[in-house]
């Protein structure tokens, strides 16, 4: 699936998913983000030593998680409600092809819990559990 903007309302410079590789709505999603030196946030994070901010790795997982929803998110009111057990194990750098894997853990009363992991060439960079609320 490459028509990312049809599904997600996020836009430059905050669209952080390039491609969806696997998708089972309600269950799991595998997506990709390719990091380039041209990313605006790398200009200042940090000067001479660019690395992707950890919070943006969480945002990448959240955006990838948007593809767990069967329908487009353009008219949906869905927000991040919580982050649990976030771990950052290694930095994501320009040139990295990030694999974003998100799996549903459970849902109740409009609130969904998902587990996410960011890897690069088989190495785990970030793991976290996200809570997403549908209003």
């Amino acid at each position: 699936m490459t028509d990312i903007t049809a599904h997600l309302p996020h836009r430059y410079p905050f669209l952080l998913v390039d491609r969806v590789l696997e998708r089972e709505p309600g269950l799991r999603v595998v997506a990709e983000k390719l990091v380039t030196i041209g990313e605006p946030y790398l200009q200042g994070h940090f000067e001479g030593r660019p690395l992707v901010p950890g919070v943006l790795l969480l945002e990448m997982l959240a955006q990838a998680g948007g593809f767990l929803e069967a329908d487009s998110l353009h008219d949906a009111a869905i927000f991040l409600a919580g982050v649990q057990d976030a771990r950052f194990k290694a930095p994501a750098l320009p040139g990295d092809r990030l694999r974003l894997e998100v799996a549903a853990v459970g849902a109740f009363a409009g609130l969904m819990k998902v587990k996410g992991v960011v890897t690069c060439e088989g190495r785990e960079l970030c793991t976290a559990t996200l809570l997403v609320k549908r209003l």
Partner: protein, 85 residues
């Protein structure tokens, strides 16, 4: 305290990380949400997942949750009623 009720309280404490709280400090009849333990909607999801994992009982929708989450007593009754024997 019944064995099941004690396990329900232990599950609540563990799942919601109510550190330093003992099972006998949770009033059987106090409301779980709002005034009693003061739980919120994220806690509700954690409890739904915990109940399924520990007791094998599913809380299907909000209506079932509303009934089950009134108090520890009502939650214990709900689990006893729906648990597979």
């Amino acid at each position: 305290m019944s064995d099941l009720k004690l396990r329900v309280k232990q599950m609540i404490i563990e799942r919601l990380k109510l550190e330093g709280m003992a099972p006998d400090q949770i009033d059987d009849l106090a409301p779980l949400f709002g005034d009693g333990l003061g739980l919120d909607s994220i806690d509700a999801l954690e409890l739904v997942l915990g109940i399924e994992q520990v007791f094998g009982v599913k809380i299907e929708d909000e209506a079932a949750g509303l009934k089950a989450f009134k108090s520890v007593q009502s939650l214990t009754d709900f689990i006893a009623e729906h648990a597979k024997s």
